[in-house]
């Protein structure tokens, strides 16, 4: 029997939207609620109008995607939590910069990306001051430690950051090329090129990918 997951509050808004909701079963036969972009736009417009229920619904709907985005960028869960909070603080502060009719996910990811880059710079500088540069976080690839990292993170750890974020947005978050281009302030052609290069790199890193494939066939986490 499949289960339905709802997170947190804001259900009154979600109930109003239920007719436009489509559901998709994930690998564990649970139903994941997917919301068309137009619903997010509607919620965003209501959030700008000061509707708390819409704001809560947005927090519940978008946070998991943003959190995964941060996790994929080699952040620890604690870092991802901090980055998510920081992103929402910024989103709240600059919510007037969203204009109705524009792709809302691209807007969210544009801000999240800015927060992540700022955080990365801050971390690098702090580490440089403490002279501990050699202890950078990007060790998953080098050590090949599958036990510590989750599958997706290990798979994407073989890629440079710019390619990783594009693959995450395009393949994991299900954004369109146009939305990814907007979120990364790049042209669609540049995004396509990054995806092409990322795939090339993944094809050339068979040990990581094959290990993941083997683990998925065996069913180990």
């Amino acid at each position: 029997m499949p289960s339905i997951e709802f997170y947190g509050t804001g259900l009154c808004v979600l109930e109003q939207l239920h007719e436009q909701i489509c559901d998709v079963r994930d690998s564990q036969n649970r139903i994941r609620i997917m919301y068309p972009e137009s619903n997010l736009e509607m919620l965003m417009a209501r959030y700008q109008g000061g509707d708390f229920a819409a704001a809560t619904a947005l927090v519940n709907l978008v946070s998991s995607q943003l959190h995964r985005f941060f996790m994929v960028q080699s952040a620890s869960r604690e870092d991802a939590d901090d980055l998510l909070q920081e992103t929402w603080l910024r989103v709240h502060k600059v919510r007037h910069t969203y204009r109705p009719g524009q792709p809302v996910l691209a807007w969210f990811y544009g801000i999240a990306r800015h927060i992540r880059i700022d955080h990365y710079r801050k971390t690098v500088r702090t580490r440089a001051r403490e002279q501990r540069l050699e202890e950078t976080a990007n060790v998953a690839t080098a050590s090949g430690d599958f036990g510590k990292a989750e599958g997706l993170e290990v798979l994407l750890a073989t890629l440079p950051e710019s390619q990783r974020e594009v693959i995450e947005m395009l393949k994991i978050s299900g954004m369109s090329l146009e939305e990814v281009a907007r979120a990364t302030s790049a042209s669609v052609g540049s995004v396509k090129q990054k995806v092409h290069r990322a795939y090339k790199k993944l094809r050339e890193a068979p040990s990581v990918v094959q290990e993941l494939g083997r683990r998925q066939r065996v069913g180990t986490p």
Partner: protein, 235 residues
């Protein structure tokens, strides 16, 4: 490993549930609630761009009016008909670019650096085509004056443009600074074309174009300075 297998792996990874601590989400929602009030979305791109163009045109014309329209009076119809429309088109493009840089998730068709480069190449090409006098009288003395006057109009234009977009949010401050500098630089070049009666090709090619490049560079540098998070050493 084929693309299909990689796609399959990515698809499976994407379908895996990713949960966020409900307490964290509740905390975020609570934080929002305490300061939630209605906000007015930014106007559309064309409204903002029109505002920026008006500011730049006003600064350039006001500066030339104060110093004299000697350059404009000395130009023939062809020169006027080619230089000012080109400056207007480039200013429109730079204005749209600056607006896009100040709004997250905006469409990006060209980077501000490329835009600055294209603008400079187009202006240099047009100046080289229109002004065949290759004498170099008072090259540095006259040139430095033009550079200073151009920048004196470019910087206020960029600052006023930034004031118009102060409610925006630059996801890349260097790019936003570069776009603002380019826009201001075009205002500075516009003012010089209206005012400067020195039609020696080398003077216009080097010093008038230098206003655009310098303003863009200053804008990018200011953006780079602002890029550092508060309280973090730049060492």
């Amino acid at each position: 490993m084929t693309d299909r297998e990689i796609n399959e792996l990515l698809k499976k990874a994407a379908q895996a549930p990713h949960e966020v601590d409900p307490a964290l989400l509740q905390g975020i929602a609570k934080g929002i609630e305490s300061s939630l009030r209605p906000v007015r979305p930014l106007p559309s791109t064309w409204v903002l761009t029109t505002g920026l163009i008006l500011i730049c045109a006003t600064v350039a014309v006001a500066g030339a009016a104060r110093a004299g329209f000697y350059g404009f009076e000395k130009m023939n119809l062809l020169e006027r008909g080619l230089i000012f429309p080109l400056l207007a088109i480039l200013a429109c493009v730079a204005g749209v670019k600056f607006v896009n840089e100040m709004i997250p998730g905006s469409r990006s068709w060209v980077s501000p650096g490329v835009l600055l480069l294209i603008s400079s190449v187009l202006l240099v090409s047009l100046f080289a085509l229109l002004f065949p006098d290759y004498r170099t009288n008072h090259f540095f003395s006259a040139g430095l004056v033009c550079l200073a006057v151009g920048l004196a109009h470019a910087i206020p234009s960029a600052l006023l443009s930034w004031l118009v977009l102060r409610r925006g949010f630059a996801v890349s401050r260097v790019s936003a600074g570069l776009a603002a500098g380019t826009l201001g630089g075009l205002a500075g070049v516009g003012m010089l074309e209206l005012h400067c009666p020195n039609f020696q090709a080398t003077h216009i090619l080097v010093w008038h174009t230098a206003v655009l490049l310098t303003a863009g560079g200053v804008g990018a540098f200011v953006g780079w300075l602002l890029h550092f998070p508060v309280g973090v050493s730049r060492r």
